[in-house]
């Protein structure tokens, strides 16, 4: 019984991962032509936001207040972060710091 639950949980997490890796969903951010789209995103607390890099160049997603920081996201890669608390979070690509955007959690 216990083993079954674990297997089910594993399957679900694999499934969720597979979904996250597929085409960008509503609420996700696409990085293209040196910009984040949408540049302002509003989500509810507990939401996971995924940034997909569709650009030819690597980018990073680094919040101004230090809440989240990705490693370099290369072409075709993505980065996810789960927002638990409310607030407005400004972030930047540290490779191209003119690229700025915000996530609002409310």
């Amino acid at each position: 019984m216990k083993a079954k639950t674990i297997v089910a949980a594993l399957c679900m997490s694999t499934l969720a991962f597979a979904c996250a890796k597929a085409t960008p969903q509503k609420g996700d951010v696409t990085i293209k032509n040196f910009s984040f789209g949408p540049s302002t995103l509003t989500v509810s607390p507990g939401s996971t936001v995924t940034w997909h890099n569709s650009d030819g160049e690597p980018h990073t997603v680094v919040s101004a207040d230090g809440l989240f920081r990705s490693a370099a996201i290369d072409t075709g890669e993505s980065f996810s972060f789960k927002f638990t608390k409310a607030g407005t979070f400004k972030y930047v690509c540290t490779i191209h710091p003119r690229m700025v955007a915000t996530v609002t959690v409310k």
Partner: protein, 313 residues
């Protein structure tokens, strides 16, 4: 290089082959003089004293990049290293002005280090580019390898042959939407480093991002660099060397000369041409003409820094 009273055709060709296509800048008393490389090579052959090669600048190797603009960045770095190793007089040291790697990944740093060990010159000084601090640790991979001289701060200085070298870091703590930044702590350190130093000592300052604003919309500049130069204006010879934009741009401001360098990986578009400062794909036979290294020769009396950019072809 061969010294003869009357240069032979073979000798002249040898010089030209080494010189490659380029322009020679001679700085004397703050005045930058550009002359044809072939002419300069001949002058050197005639025995004129132009000093000894003090250092070579290598920039933007972007190890790990594998896209259309150059699928073999390791190969072009190797060619750049071969150019340095072929110099008739080896420089005392090498400056790598950043973007050693494409993504700050350990295997990319390892390969870059391994390739750079192919240089005959063993003294290499590194300053990181924004690509080298794009790991989740915000530069941990770079500092683990190259952080020792600066005690992991990114800025430090040293002397060689009477020249004072200053490594600066302008790729951390970006203000959103802004240019590169040095920051108050680094500026305070710089002030202390220059205090009491003789104004006749030549300075060589190196950092990754351009230290003057070349093109603000693409972040090609350093927001607080003016504060650094305010401390350097009293010096008779200040040579500022940067990378980042993968092309040569120079500027003279009083006794301060600025030069960005070619990359060893791929070129980038001129300021404002196209959607952004990404890799520029050029016809394959054009690529080696747009990549290369820079050697700097120093003569103390009068203080002369001779800058020579050499392309891979």
């Amino acid at each position: 290089m061969i010294v003869t009273d009357k240069p032979s055709r073979r000798g002249a060709l040898k010089c030209l082959a080494y010189g490659g296509a380029g322009t020679l800048f001679t700085l004397s008393g703050g005045v930058l003089v550009a002359s044809d490389l072939a002419q300069a090579a001949t002058k050197k052959m005639m025995g004129a004293d132009t000093g000894t090669p003090l250092f070579v600048q290598i920039s933007d190797s972007h190890i790990g990049f594998n896209k259309e603009a150059n699928p073999d960045v390791a190969g072009t770095l190797k060619q750049s290293i071969a150019l340095v190793n072929a110099m008739p007089q080896q420089p005392s040291l090498i400056l790598h002005t950043g973007d050693i790697t494409q993504l700050s990944r350990p295997d990319q740093f390892d390969l870059a280090e391994q390739l750079l060990k192919g240089l005959k010159v063993s003294e290499i000084h590194y300053t990181p580019g924004e690509h080298d601090t794009s790991d989740a640790g915000g530069g941990k991979e770079f500092f683990d390898r190259f952080g020792k001289p600066s005690k992991n701060l990114g800025y430090y200085s040293f002397d060689s042959h009477g020249v004072h070298f200053i490594a600066l870091i302008n790729v951390l703590d970006f203000k959103a939407g802004g240019l590169g930044i040095l920051g108050p702590a680094q500026l305070a350190w710089l002030k202390k480093d220059l205090e009491g130093r003789s104004a006749s000592q030549p300075l060589v300052v190196f950092a990754h991002m351009p230290m003057w604003t070349i093109y603000e919309p693409w972040g090609w500049g350093t927001g607080d660099a003016d504060q650094a130069f305010a401390l350097m204006r009293r010096f008779g010879s200040v040579t500022v060397l940067n990378g980042h934009i993968h092309q040569i741009v120079s500027k003279v401001e009083g006794n301060i000369t600025f030069h960005t360098a070619r990359a060893t990986c791929y070129p980038q578009p001129a300021a404002g041409v196209g959607p952004g400062p990404g890799p520029l794909t050029v016809p394959k036979d054009q690529l080696p003409h747009m990549l290369g290294i820079r050697s700097v020769t120093y003569a103390p009396h009068p203080v002369t820094m001779t800058i020579k950019d050499t392309a891979l072809a």
